[in-house]
Symmetry: C2
Subunit: 280 residues, 2 copies
């Protein structure tokens, strides 16, 4: 069994537009891609669907449902409507799941606890809509350094609690970059797996030093995250999906995308491919 | 009752050497300062003690015990010995507590879980030494974005668990910058307070955007942390110590230190001084 890999378009977003990205992934032998709504908009939904079809690909993760948290009811309604449209697009493209991206605190001044309640409340109509479209929502805890402006959801424990409260149709994406530091990460992966709600496993690496809070993620193997350890944990927890490469990095965006893709594939094989270990 | 404030020398570290810092704090009416071992070394222990004495000040926090985590037994022994010397210096200067600074993962490759065990083990002899000197150790959870190279201790929950395991002579410093994002922060402050182990309360602010992981902390009021909320929580939990201003910031380091000091005092009064509310 060869390693099941998925590339997230964000990893190549400055070099490849939608079609070029899809063609490159197909040429490298992959069967799924994770995509972004803004790139879909650039060519139109129909052309995006055609591009996936022509390349023999299906959509795995769709980015993204959000940002939808807002300071006023009017702004909230407007953002919710826009978010529903993204969920519709994900469903039309047959995506496996839509990444929930709440948005952050600023310029609100209500505190994180209030924002977390608002997130829980707002997920109810979003999930109802997603269910009616037949697409899953995926909660992805983001690193606490992004709590201020990207998402109040910082830990797998909160994501598990939200899933418990919300019921079917919503699960969790485990991104190693965001959760590797958490003392409870192994326990919460196990919990998420026991409920069959791990929808994706994102890899990249934490660099020392890290020069930017958003765009200095590392290529797998260049940082200090014990990626093989976390891959073992999600598999032990019952996850049978692919490994998704998502690297936000000015460094890698500036490089030849074919080289970046080959580097990512090679690193993933070196770190995650345990055929020698498992099948002998 | 006027607001009890302490300045941490780090806030002014590029502008004021030890004596100038002490004199400025005394002139502003404060009775305690938080100091750094490297600044003490610059003038010598005796001169530092004299400087505090002349200014009518006592030492509150002493930075720092560490880094002491190391990859090999030899390196570990060497670092432990150096850390003991820092604890001795803190005791000789009559500091209230010494900040524990474990150091980080790189270039070790043992994973955070292993490093957390190593931290727990290493605190035993350090605490024994601190007790024999009559000075308290203070665990300060650092922001998870610093887990890679500064400290594996990321949450108040871990700090409380370590204190529970270690017994007397060790407590916790709550730095708003490091813990404000944590969904369990209020609960863990309450727990720490119930055991009488909150030794300090550090303030600063989280800026949007934040441009650097170490040196872009904000002046109180310039960011999004609900500082008054957290001050209320530590007081409800029984903390009766001062508010300590600790701002690592290239922006503020480049400014006139008298202006920075006055700004910090003014902001603290605006945010934390509740004389109108409490006593009328």
């Amino acid at each position: 069994m060869s390693l099941d890999l998925v590339m997230n378009h964000a990893t190549f977003r400055k070099a490849w537009r939608f079609e070029a990205f899809a063609e490159a992934c197909a040429a490298a032998g992959m069967s799924r891609v994770s995509i972004w709504g803004d790139e879909v908009d650039r060519i139109g939904l129909k052309a995006a669907a055609q591009s996936l079809h022509d390349a023999g690909l299906t959509a795995f993760g769709y980015n993204r449902a959000g940002p939808f948290l807002a300071a006023t009811p009017d702004a909230q309604s407007e953002k919710l409507a826009a978010t529903m449209v993204e969920i519709d697009k994900a469903a039309e493209l047959g995506a496996d799941h839509v990444l929930v991206f709440p948005g952050g605190l600023a310029p609100y001044q209500k505190g994180l606890a209030g924002l977390r309640h608002q997130l829980a409340d707002t997920l109810v109509p979003l999930l109802e809509h997603a269910r009616s479209c037949g697409v899953s929502l995926a909660l992805e805890p983001l690193h606490p350094m992004l709590a201020g402006d990207r998402s109040p959801l910082c830990t797998l424990a909160e994501a598990n609690a939200l899933c418990d409260a919300l019921g079917d149709g919503i699960g969790i994406v485990v991104d190693t970059y965001h959760v590797w530091w958490d003392p409870a990460v192994e326990q919460q992966i196990e919990l998420a797996g026991a409920s069959g709600r791990i929808l994706g496993f994102h890899v990249n690496d934490w660099l020392i030093p890290t020069s930017h809070l958003l765009t200095d993620r590392g290529m797998m193997g260049d940082g200090i995250i014990d990626l093989a350890h976390f891959w073992g944990k999600v598999r032990e927890a019952g996850y049978q999906g692919p490994i998704e490469v998502e690297i936000f990095s000015e460094h890698w965006w500036a490089r030849d995308p074919d080289m970046v893709l080959q580097t990512a594939l090679r690193r993933c094989r070196a770190i995650f491919d345990d055929r020698q270990g498992d099948s002998q």
